[in-house]
């Protein structure tokens, strides 16, 4: 355990130490000493910006992401289950998916201007929707026919079949989509704030950059990085628990 921790933490510690010492005497405007950045951290992220920038950003991200998850899984299950519907939707989905999500921002801005929280949530939700939706469709499609038939011959109810067979069977694919959507969500959270000039984590970083408050800008970048890491860690935790049966299955298959 200590060996593993040593191996895992070794390189980051070395890299941070390198950054610290190489930048120590730095007079470059863009690359301030790491010590200055660290010193700026607690001064920059006091209770007020955390309450008015960081938390609202995370709340918008969460709301948009959850909407995308609900809509994506529901629509994906429907599209995946009916051949005709799928054939009808496929080219349209293919096209909508191919539009880079940030391009939605100017379009949404046309409708409502780009100031309120709603437009940002809509942006995040629309961007996260496609990977979840398409992966759900694929997951539902790749379900074992025998499983479906078995559920039918056991006369499982529609809802039970949906919950126990369809959703459960496609959950590894859904999780893969949800993971992709998470990083797109973080990107859109930041970009949506770069666009509308108001508060939020992304907006704060740009404010620092425009005001040439370089160490503060760096603290913002680092905070965004930490947020990304924390979210993917949280995701892995949830995935680990909900897909425990799947890992067990794979393990058993390998041992045979």
């Amino acid at each position: 355990m200590t060996r593993r921790a040593l191996v895992g933490l070794g390189l980051p510690v070395v890299l941070i130490a390198l950054w610290w010492f190489l930048s120590a005497g730095s007079t470059s405007f863009f690359w301030p000493p790491l010590s200055a950045i660290v010193a700026a951290f607690p001064r920059t992220w006091t209770a007020d910006p955390i309450l008015h920038d960081v938390l609202p950003s995370i709340a918008r991200l969460t709301a948009g992401y959850l909407i995308a998850l609900a809509v994506g899984v529901a629509a994906g299950t429907a599209i995946g289950s009916y051949r005709t519907l799928r054939a009808l939707c496929e080219p349209v989905l293919e096209f909508l998916r191919a539009i880079p999500p940030p391009v939605l921002i100017p379009v949404i801005a046309l409708f409502a201007g780009y100031t309120g929280a709603t437009t940002k949530i809509v942006t995040i939700a629309l961007g996260c929707l496609w990977p979840i939706l398409l992966n759900t469709v694929e997951g539902v499609r790749s379900l074992d026919e025998v499983l479906r038939d078995t559920a039918r011959s056991y006369r499982l109810g529609r809802l039970t079949t949906l919950r126990q067979v369809v959703l459960r069977g496609s959950s590894p694919r859904i999780a893969a989509g949800a993971r992709q959507a998470l990083s797109i969500g973080v990107i859109l959270m930041v970009i949506s704030e770069l666009f509308g000039a108001d508060r939020g984590l992304g907006a704060a970083v740009v404010q620092f950059q425009r005001g040439f408050a370089i160490p503060q800008m760096w603290t913002g970048i680092i905070l965004l990085g930490l947020l990304g890491v924390a979210l993917s860690g949280l995701f892995r935790l949830v995935e680990h628990r909900t897909l425990a049966w799947y890992r067990g299955l794979r393990q058993a298959e390998r041992e045979v």
């Binding site: 191996v7 895992g8 933490l9 070794g10 390189l11 980051p12 890299l15 863009f30 051949r83 005709t84 799928r86 054939a87 009808l88 939707c89 496929e90 080219p91 349209v92 293919e94 096209f95 909508l96 998916r97 191919a98 539009i99 880079p100 999500p101 940030p102 391009v103 921002i105 100017p106 379009v107 801005a109 046309l110 409708f111 694929e138 499609r141 790749s142 990083s183 973080v186 990107i187 930041v190 970009i191 770069l194 666009f195 992304g202 970083v205 740009v206 620092f208 950059q209 370089i214 800008m217 913002g220 970048i221 965004l224 990085g225 990304g228 890491v229 979210l231 993917s232």
Partner: protein, 262 residues
Amino acid sequence: MTSVALRGRLAHPALGVFGLALLVTVVEALPRLGLVDSRFLPPATDMIRELGDQLLLPEFWVAAGQTVSGWAVGLAIAMAAGIVVGVVIGGVPFLRAVTASTIEFLRPIPSVALIPLVVLIHGSRPESALVLVVYAAFWQVLVQVLYGVADVDPVVRDTARSYRFSRWTTVRTVVWPTAMPYVVTGFRLAASVALILEITAELIIGVPGLGRSIGVAQSSGAVTQTYALVVVVGLLGVAVNASARFVERRALRWHTSVRRDL
């Protein structure tokens, strides 16, 4: 997308066309019937007409060329760097163990967090977009290559060693064929991520290209043009996805996941 999905799509091309026609009809009908203000959503025919007008403008083609070349250069650099770094790190167990946590840390840093930094250093020149594109696409490739190298059959690896294959021969004949499908998957993912970042950089930072054209059109109130350009970017994305999938099938023609005669 698997070959099964492909067959499913080809089974009902007429339905797919009908679906597209339905979308166009809805977009046409909503503003015409007054359900949506045409200042927000112009009728589909107006968008198509605007699209036709755009295709005649030299500025449009210049912007499209800037976007595509920025995308291609960034993708090529990310592919080369990702493959080299991936094969080197993946081939040496010690390096793999030591770098795992760092890669896990750097990968989720949203590349857009770097936007303020690149704006400061490069301004709205193409270099800004290039940095973002390479950073974002690099991780997609690297992680796939690492998976691929880890997938090499230990027996094959040991066989190569006992035949005293040189390091280079081992990479070429043992590691590369195993890693190839993963590399191609990395390419497909990186191709679309690179396009997203290229367009984003143009839209947000003002790097010349289609993204900037969209931003300009929107802020100057040219609604129809905004939509027409969004459609163009969408079609560009479809083209990127389709060609990446084509490359995938060509490059892996020998592989069991693509071959049908097995």
